[in-house]
C-alpha cells in the first residue's frame, strides 16, 4: 500500500534536517504504529506524506499503490486515497461541517471520475456515520471544528475518515489531549473502519492508544529514522522501560 | 489588610504597599537659585544667542537658523484630539540657566551645591557612590547592585553627567549634547536630524532652532553599555520653555538601556516643553528607552501644568536592529507624543509599551508609529489609557506595511479604562497594509473599572481610592513589566498618585 524509501527531508526555511532516510512499508490491510520520543520526526513524516508546505524533500520517495505521492498536490493525494487525521484539527469559522464534508467528498469523487453524491444520499450516509461516533446534529451544523472540545475535534476527524473512505489512513497523535472515554470512542471509530483493503499508520508517543487500536507492526522512530521494528510487544516494551534503552542501543540519547 | 489578599492576576503585595504610601504631586517645589535668562520671545537674535551661549561652531548655528526660518512658515498642528489654548511663542523664555553654570563645571565637585541638592531632593543623587537614579524606592535597593549614569538637565542646561569616566573606558560616550557638538562634531553632524528631519513637524522644527541642551549617547560597535544611562529633566524657572534634544546612537551590535525622568514645580501658568529624541540603531544593535513622565499636570481645576509636545523616533537602520519604547505618562497638562519606530532593516523589531494616565483636566494624545520598510520586520504595541476626572485620553497610532516589508507582523492592543462619567477615552489608529504576506492585528477595548473587582477589594478592607489604584495597576501590568525594575516601582506609585481624587 505505502512504500517509503530513503526519505530525507529538511525544513524549507532553515538548514535543519528532520528526516534522515526513512524506510517503511505498510502492507494492504495492515495497521502499523510509529512510536518515538518528541522531536523524532514522527509528525513531520505525516505532514510530508500529506503534502504540507514548508518541507523540502532532498532524497527518497513515497509510493501509494505504486504512485509517487511526493509529486502530487495535497488534494491529489487525498483523491488517491491518503488521509491524515490531524493532531491539531483546524478551525474554519463560517463553513458548516456538513458543507465542508460534502465539498470534500464530492471533490474526491469527481477526481476519481465518480458521480457526485446527491444531497439526500449524502445526508443519509453522514447521519448514520455520525451516530456511531456520537456526533450529534448540532455538531454537524456548526462551523468546522469551531468551539469543538478536544475530543469532539478528534471524533470529527474520524467522521471525515469514515465519509471519505481512504485506503491509507495516517493518525497523527490522535490520542493527544483525550481522556479515556474519548479515546475509546475514537478507537472504536477507527476499528470499525479496519478492513482488508485499508491500511493504517498510527503515530503516537504513548502505548495506550495501541491498547485500543491493535497494531500489526510497531516501529520506533528516533533522530529522523526508523531505528527498530517489531510486533505489538515492542510497544509494551516502550511502555514499561521508556525510550532510553532502545535509544541507547542505537547510540542515541533522548532529546530533552 | 490581609496578607493573602489576591485581587486579580498581576496585583501583588508590593503594589498594595506602594499604593498605600501614595501622596500628592511631590515634585511641585521650586529651587531658589539665581538664574540668567535670555530675553523673552523668539527671534533670530535669540537663536544666535542660544548658539553663542553654548559656544557652538558655525555649522550648528546655520542649522538652527535654517530651522527657525522654516518654523516661521509652519502652521501649528490641530489634528490631535486636544484643546490647546493659544500659545504665545513671544511670551516664553527660550533660555534659562543657573548663574553658577556660566562657566561649565569641570566635574561634579564644582557644581553648585544648590543644584546638587535639588536633584538629591528629587531622588536623583548626582554622586557616583550613590548609584541609583531617578527613582522612588531606590534607597531600598542594595547599594551597588546596579549602576546608572545620570545626565541632569536643569531648565536649559546640563548640570552634570555621572560615570563619564567609567563609560569612557568601555568606549561609550555619554555627555550633554552641547558638549558633544564641541567634542564630537563628526558624530553629531553624521546623525543629528537624520531621524527627525528639521521639517518634521511644528514642534520638532521649533526644537531644532532653540534647543539648549540635552543628552548625547554613542555606543561603539559591539559594546554592551556597562550600565543604564539616564537623563533627568527638571524645569524650574517660571515662564520658561524647555527644549532639549537627545541623540542616541547604537552602532553595530551595540546595546544600551536609557531611562528618562521629568518633573517641574507647581505653577499657575502653563509651560512649554518641546523635546526631540532621535535614536539611530545600526545592524544587530538594540536600544531600550524608558520614560517616566511626571511633569506638573496642573492643579485640580486645570490651572497650570506643562504642555509636553515631544517628537521621539527610532530608526532601525541595520538588519536585526531592535528598539523598545516604554513610557509611563502621568504628568503634563497636555501630552502630544508619539514615540515611533522606523523598521528599515530586514528582521528589525519595534516595540511600544505605554501607560497614559489623565486625571482632572489633563489631556493626552499619544501613541506610536510603526513604519515597516524592511522584510520580516516585527512590531508590537501595547497601550493602556486611563481617564479620570474631566480628562481626555487618546491613543493615536499608525501601523504601515510598505510593499517591500514582506512577511512582517504587527500586533496592537489598545485598552482604555474610564473612571467616572465626565472623562473621555479615544482610540484613533491608522492601519495601512500594502502587501499580503504581512499580517496586522489590531484590537482595542474600552471599559470602566470592574465593579466586582472594586467590591472585592473593598470587602477586604481596602479603601475605594486604593482599590481603584490596585485594579488600575493590574490593568497596566503588561506595560509595567516592560520597565526596568526601579522605574516599574516608581511607575506603580505614580499610577496611584495620579488617580488621587478620581473617585468619590
Amino acid at each position: 500500500m505505502l512504500e517509503i524509501k530513503n526519505l530525507h527531508v529538511k525544513l524549507e526555511e532553515e538548514d535543519k534536517v528532520i528526516l534522515k532516510g526513512v524506510n517503511l512499508t505498510v502492507e494492504t490491510g495492515k495497521v502499523h504504529a510509529i512510536m518515538g520520543p518528541n522531536g523524532s520526526g514522527k509528525s513531520t513524516l505525516s505532514y510530508v506524506l500529506s503534502g504540507r508546505d514548508g518541507y523540502e524533500v532532498t532524497d527518497g520517495s513515497a509510493l501509494l499503490e505504486g504512485e509517487e505521492l511526493l509529486e502530487m498536490e495535497p488534494e491529489e493525494r487525498a483523491a488517491a486515497g491518503l488521509f491524515l487525521a490531524f493532531q491539531y484539527p483546524v478551525e474554519i469559522p463560517g463553513v458548516g461541517n456538513m458543507t465542508f464534508l460534502r465539498t470534500a467528498l464530492n471533490a474526491q469523487r469527481k477526481a476519481r471520475g465518480q458521480d457526485e453524491l446527491s444531497a439526500g444520499e449524502f445526508l443519509k450516509v453522514v447521519r448514520e456515520k455520525a451516530k456511531t461516533l456520537k456526533i450529534d446534529a448540532d455538531m454537524l451544523k456548526r462551523p468546522v471544528n469551531v468551539g469543538f472540545s478536544g475530543g469532539e475535534k478528534k471524533r470529527n476527524e474520524i467522521l471525515q475518515m469514515a465519509m471519505l473512505e481512504p485506503k491509507m489512513c495516517i493518525l497523527d497523535e490522535t490520542d493527544s489531549g483525550l481522556d479515556v472515554d474519548a479515546m475509546r470512542l475514537v478507537a472504536d471509530g477507527v476499528n470499525a473502519l479496519r478492513d482488508a483493503g485499508r491500511s493504517f499508520l498510527v503515530i503516537t508517543h504513548y502505548q495506550r492508544l495501541l491498547d485500543h487500536i491493535k497494531p500489526d507492526v510497531v516501529h520506533i522512530m528516533a533522530d529522523g529514522r526508523i531505528i527498530q521494528t517489531g510486533g505489538p510487544e515492542l510497544a509494551l516494551e516502550v511502555e514499561q522501560n521508556g525510550y532510553a534503552d532502545i535509544l541507547k542501543a542505537h547510540g542515541l540519547t533522548e532529546a530533552v | 489588610m490581609t496578607s493573602d489578599l489576591e485581587i486579580r492576576e498581576g496585583v501583588d503585595r508590593e503594589t498594595v504597599e506602594t499604593v498605600q504610601n501614595m501622596g500628592s504631586y511631590k515634585y511641585g517645589w521650586e529651587t531658589e537659585i539665581e538664574m540668567e535668562f535670555a530675553p523673552k520671545g523668539l527671534s533670530e537674535e535669540i537663536v544666535r544667542l542660544i548658539s553663542a551661549k553654548n559656544d557652538e561652531p558655525e555649522w550648528m548655528l546655520e542649522w538652527r537658523l535654517a530651522a527657525f526660518r522654516r518654523w516661521q512658515e509652519m502652521p501649528e498642528p490641530d489634528w490631535a484630539m486636544l484643546n490647546i489654548p493659544a500659545i504665545d511663542y513671544q511670551d516664553i523664555y527660550y533660555y534659562a540657566r543657573p548663574k553658577s553654570m556660566e562657566t561649565k563645571p569641570k566635574s561634579l565637585d564644582e557644581v553648585d551645591p544648590k543644584l546638587l541638592a535639588t536633584y538629591e531632593k528629587l531622588g536623583i543623587p548626582l554622586k557616583e557612590q550613590l548609584i541609583l537614579a531617578g527613582v522612588e524606592g531606590a534607597e531600598d535597593l542594595v547599594e551597588g547592585e546596579r549602576q546608572v549614569a545620570v545626565d541632569a538637565v536643569f531648565d536649559s542646561v546640563s548640570v552634570g553627567t555621572t560615570f563619564k569616566d567609567k563609560l569612557a573606558e568601555a568606549g561609550v560616550i555619554f555627555c550633554s549634547i552641547s558638549e558633544a557638538i564641541k567634542e564630537h562634531p563628526e558624530l553629531v553632524k553624521k546623525y543629528l536630524g537624520t531621524v527627525v528631519p528639521q521639517s518634521d513637524n511644528f514642534f520638532a522644527t521649533l526644537n531644532c532652532a532653540v534647543f539648549s541642551d540635552g543628552s548625547f549617547v554613542y555606543v561603539p560597535p559591539g559594546v554592551k553599555c556597562p550600565m543604564e544611562l539616564s537623563t533627568y529633566f527638571r524645569i524650574n524657572a517660571e515662564n520658561t520653555g524647555q527644549f532639549e534634544r537627545t541623540l542616541i546612537v547604537a552602532d553595530k551590535g551595540a546595546y544600551v538601556s536609557y531611562l528618562e525622568g521629568c518633573t517641574a514645580p507647581k505653577r499657575d501658568t502653563a509651560q512649554l516643553h518641546a523635546a526631540v529624541v532621535e535614536i539611530v540603531i545600526e545592524e544587530d544593535a538594540e536600544v531600550k528607552y524608558s520614560t517616566v513622565q511626571n511633569w506638573f499636570p496642573g492643579d485640580e481645576n486645570g490651572k497650570g501644568g506643562i504642555y509636553n509636545f515631544v517628537t521621539k523616533r527610532a530608526d532601525c537602520r541595520g538588519d536585526r536592529a531592535k528598539v523598545m519604547w516604554t513610557q509611563v505618562e502621568t504628568g503634563s497638562a497636555i501630552t502630544w507624543k508619539y514615540p515611533s519606530c522606523i523598521l528599515r532593516g530586514a528582521d528589525t523589531q519595534g516595540e511600544f509599551y505605554s501607560i497614559a494616565i489623565t486625571n482632572n483636566w489633563q489631556q493626552a494624545d499619544t501613541g506610536t508609529k510603526m513604519i515597516h520598510l524592511g522584510k520580516n520586520s516585527k512590531s508590537r504595541i501595547v497601550s493602556k489609557g486611563i481617564s479620570a476626572g474631566h480628562a481626555q485620553n487618546t491613543y493615536r497610532g499608525l501601523v504601515s506595511m510598505h510593499p517591500k516589508a514582506k512577511n512582517s507582523r504587527n500586533y496592537t492592543q489598545c485598552d482604555s479604562l474610564l473612571i467616572g462619567d465626565k472623562c473621555g477615552a479615544h482610540t484613533v489608529p491608522y492601519i495601512e497594509v500594502k502587501n499580503n504576506s504581512s499580517r496586522v492585528e489590531h484590537e482595542a477595548t474600552t471599559s470602566k473599572v470592574d465593579d466586582d473587582q472594586l467590591f472585592y477589594c473593598r470587602a477586604r478592607g481596602v479603601g475605594e481610592e486604593e482599590a481603584v489604584a490596585l485594579v488600575v495597576n493590574g490593568f497596566c501590568r503588561e506595560v509595567l513589566q516592560a520597565l526596568p525594575m526601579e522605574f516599574a516601582m516608581e511607575a506603580q506609585s505614580l499610577v496611584a498618585i495620579s488617580l488621587e481624587g478620581s473617585v468619590g
Binding site: 508546505d53 498536490e73 | 482610540t427 499580503n436 496586522v440 492585528e441 471599559s447
Partner: protein, 426 residues
C-alpha cells in the same frame, strides 16, 4: 486673478443642476451648507485614502452600461415590490404598482408637498454633518432630481426593491430617498443595480420607537461605476436598524453610513462585504461609518470585510462615538481584509470616541493573506486549491453575511459571492 474669474470647482459641479424642487427650503439650506463647507479635496482628513476628484468633477467619467444578463436578477426569489429607476429617473412602466399594504410610497419628483417628508428631507443629513463635513451629501440634498418618499405605518406586506438601471454612458443621477418608519412599523428595503456612470445617492431613514428597518443592498458587477452613497439613520427607542451591503467591482465606491442612536435600547447593525478584483479595472472601495450613541443601553455593530486582489484597494473609516450619559452602551466594530495577492492594499482607521464610563466598546482590525494551515487542511481532505480558497473566502465573509436576518436573502447573497469567486479565479 483677472477679471474673467475662473469658475470654481463648486460652481462647475453645480452647473446644470437644479436646486429647486421638493422641499425648497431644505434645498436652499443644503446649498448654503455646501458653499460654506466646500467640496471635498485630497487634503481633507476624511478623504485621506480616497481621492474624491471623480465625484467633484463637473462631468462624470463616461461608463458603459454593463450587461449582467448572464446571471439571474438578484432578489428574484423574494416576493417584493419592484420600483425601477433608469439613469436616475423613476420608470413607472417598469415598476410595480406603488400600492403596498402598510406603506405609502410617493415619488419625490412628483410630490408637490408631503408633510411628513418635507419636514424630514435633509434634516438627518444636516445632523450627520457634525462633527465631520459630508459635502457630497449636502450637494445631494440641494440638487436631487428624484427619489422615493416611503412611509411605513405598519408591518409592510413585502420588501420594497429599488432597482437601478444604467443605460446612458454619461448618466449622472442624484437620488434622495426619505424613509420613515412610524412607531412599531417594519420594512425591508432591497437595492441593486448599476445606477449610472456616476451615482450620488442619499437615503435618510427615520426609525421611530419600536420600529424595525432592514436594508440589503447589492452594488454589483459594473466595473466602471463611480458611486458615492450615504445613509443617514435616526434610530429611536427600542427601534432596530440593520443594513448590509455587498459590493463587487466598481472603479470607485464610497459608502457612508451615519447612524444616530437617539433612543434608549436602540439597536443598529451595519455590515458590508466587498470583493474587489483590480484586474479588469481599478477597484477602490471605501466604507465610512459613523455611529453615535446618544442614549442608554444601545447596541451597535459594524462588521466590514473585504477580499482584495490584483491591486484592489479597500479602505475603512469607522467610528463609534459614545456621548456623555449614553451609559451601558455596547459598541462593537470589526474591519478585516483578506489580501489575495501582494498588489492589493487595505487602509483602515477604526476609531472609538467615548465620553461615558459604563460602556463596553471594542474594535478589531486584521489584515493578511489566506490562512495556509486552513488551506492545507481543506486540500488534505481532497478539496482542490481554487475551491478551497473559495471556501476560505466565504468563511472569511461569514460574519458580515450573517448580519442579514432573512435566510432567503442571505442565500441569494452567498450565491452571488460564489458566482463572483468562480468568475474571478486566477
Amino acid at each position: 486673478m483677472g477679471a474673467a474669474v475662473q469658475k470654481s470647482t463648486l460652481e462647475a459641479r453645480l452647473e446644470g443642476l437644479s436646486t429647486t424642487g421638493f422641499a425648497p427650503a431644505a434645498r436652499k439650506d443644503a446649498l448654503a451648507r455646501l458653499v460654506a463647507m466646500g467640496l471635498p479635496g485630497r487634503r481633507d482628513e476624511y478623504w485621506r485614502w480616497t481621492n474624491p476628484a471623480d465625484f467633484i468633477a463637473a462631468t462624470p467619467v463616461p461608463a458603459q452600461a454593463f450587461d449582467d444578463s448572464d446571471e439571474a436578477p438578484v432578489f428574484e426569489a423574494t416576493d417584493r415590490v419592484k420600483l425601477v429607476f433608469v439613469d436616475g429617473v423613476f420608470d413607472a412602466d417598469a415598476s410595480d404598482d406603488l400600492a403596498l399594504a402598510g406603506v405609502e410610497i410617493t415619488r419625490l419628483a412628483e410630490a408637490p408637498d408631503l408633510n411628513w417628508a418635507s419636514g424630514l428631507y435633509g434634516t438627518l443629513e444636516v445632523a450627520g454633518q457634525t462633527p465631520v463635513a459630508r459635502p457630497l451629501a449636502a450637494l445631494n440634498t440641494a440638487a436631487a432630481t428624484d427619489g422615493l418618499l416611503i412611509r411605513a405605518t405598519a408591518k409592510a406586506e413585502k420588501p420594497i426593491n429599488l432597482i437601478y438601471i444604467h443605460r446612458s454612458e454619461v448618466s449622472d443621477p442624484i437620488l434622495h430617498h426619505v424613509i420613515r418608519l412610524e412607531e412599531g412599523a417594519e420594512l425591508t428595503i432591497l437595492e441593486n443595480g448599476p445606477a449610472g456612470a456616476r451615482f450620488n445617492k442619499v437615503m435618510e431613514v427615520d426609525v421611530a420607537k419600536g420600529a424595525r428597518f432592514h436594508h440589503v443592498r447589492v452594488q454589483g458587477r459594473d466595473h466602471e461605476r463611480r458611486a458615492a452613497t450615504a445613509i443617514f439613520a435616526r434610530v429611536a427607542e427600542e427601534a432596530l436598524f440593520k443594513s448590509f451591503t455587498l459590493t463587487v467591482n466598481g472603479v470607485l465606491t464610497r459608502n457612508e453610513c451615519v447612524i444616530d442612536m437617539v433612543g434608549d435600547d436602540a439597536v443598529a447593525h451595519v455590515a458590508g462585504a466587498a470583493l474587489g478584483d483590480g484586474a479588469s479595472d481599478a477597484f477602490l472601495h471605501d466604507d465610512t461609518v459613523f455611529v453615535t450613541h446618544g442614549a442608554e443601553r444601545g447596541e451597535s455593530r459594524q462588521v466590514f470585510k473585504k477580499v482584495l486582489k490584483h491591486g484592489a484597494v479597500g479602505t475603512f473609516q469607522g467610528k463609534i462615538l459614545v456621548k456623555p450619559g449614553a451609559q451601558k452602551t455596547d459598541g462593537y466594530q470589526i474591519s478585516q481584509s483578506l489580501l489575495l495577492d501582494d498588489d492589493s492594499q487595505f487602509l483602515a482607521k477604526p476609531e472609538l470616541e467615548i465620553y461615558a464610563d459604563d460602556v463596553k466598546c471594542s474594535h478589531g482590525s486584521t489584515t493578511g493573506a489566506i490562512d495556509e494551515t486552513a488551506l492545507f487542511y481543506l486540500r488534505s481532505r481532497g478539496v482542490p486549491m481554487e475551491e478551497a480558497r473559495g471556501l476560505l473566502v466565504l468563511s472569511f465573509l461569514a460574519d458580515a453575511i450573517d448580519e442579514i436576518e432573512d435566510e432567503g436573502l442571505r442565500d441569494d447573497i452567498v450565491g452571488r459571492l460564489e458566482a463572483w469567486l468562480n468568475r474571478h479565479r486566477d
